[in-house]
Symmetry: C2
Subunit: 170 residues, 2 copies
DNA sequence: ATTATCTTTCAATAAATTTTGAAAGTTCAG
DNA sequence: CTGAACTTTCAAAATTTATTGAAAGATAAT
């Protein structure tokens, strides 16, 4: 397979997988394009290579920057802005975990704490089931929260090494 | 807060979070409802409590069964089918990891292996960047695949205990 | 200060996904 | 076998989400 075809396939597939992860297709495609581009690209390059509109490119590039996956790059002598993606995949994974934790887990835990304190007769089966389930979800979430915090802080080598040792991967 | 209100909030919130995870709102809401119901519910119960149509209830219940999160329960003397959700949240998490791994990681790895073998002049920067990035993503994915396999097999106690020890949780 | 270049916004439009509900299918008691 | 009880299907409709592109907003060179 030649580069052009492989690149097109990667962009299409990465876009498809992105949609399973709550990321929209175009955002994932732009990410894929930048991941495999040796040099930073302009908004125009992105528009051309993916056949998308200016507004769409702008919006999704901004979102990628929000997620900490893409950076604006200034090229001396150029008026335009250029964009480049973090290529170290471990850093990418850590960044995604960090953002999702912030957007999801950190929002859910306070809700679960509140719901876990529902009033009612503890002899009532419905109350008991509700309370127990919510408390279990809360405990699980709090444990996950602590685990992910440690992961986020850990450096790549330590993280990989520990997991390999722990889980016996090779 | 009283049970009815807490239950409604939990269903709404769980539904909202579900959409971040590629799960549709209704499916997550049905899951939430079954999670906090002490006894199995019929399709009719689900339709009534969530105000959704018969077709919608049927379709999403089937999908929850596909995911291994809900089971059909036969109640002696009843003609209808009843449904109940796995309440052990560690089992739920493991089941979700297992299914997503199957649907996503296991599909992506063969693609990455193929794309990693793109032909071209290794002195060409574009070819080099492409190959290196894909290989890194592939290595990461293969490591994640092994790690998740071990997690899926591990029992809850071992898994929790190991993570606590490893990451210093309390 | 003017103008050319580039970026952002956002209302309109298009596309994708979800939901409905009526009809068809199934199962089982009598 | 018949019909009542229940489940499944699926085309149409509703809803949600993503995309476009033109206009407005910046920015910087001259």
């Amino acid at each position: 397979m030649q580069l052009a075809e492989a690149k097109a396939r990667f962009i299409a597939d990465w876009g498809r997988f992105g949609t399973n992860w709550g990321i929209n297709r175009t955002m994932a495609q732009i990410h894929a394009l930048l991941l495999v581009s040796p040099d930073p690209l302009s908004a125009e390059d992105v528009m051309d290579q993916l056949s998308i509109s200016r507004g769409n490119a702008n919006m999704n590039l901004r979102e990628l920057i929000d997620w900490g996956l893409v950076q604006k790059v200034l090229i001396p002598g150029e008026r335009k802005e250029f964009f480049s993606a973090e290529k170290d995949i471990w850093k990418v994974a850590r960044q995604i975990v960090k953002e999702r934790k912030k957007r999801e887990l950190d929002q859910m835990i306070p809700v679960l704490r509140e719901l876990g304190e529902v009033e009612g007769d503890r002899r009532d089966k419905a109350v008991r089931t509700f309370t127990e389930t919510i408390q279990n979800i809360r405990k699980f979430s709090e444990q996950a929260d602590r685990t992910l915090d440690t992961m986020i802080k850990a450096d790549e080598h330590w993280f990989l090494g520990s997991l390999v040792k722990l889980f016996g991967g090779r």
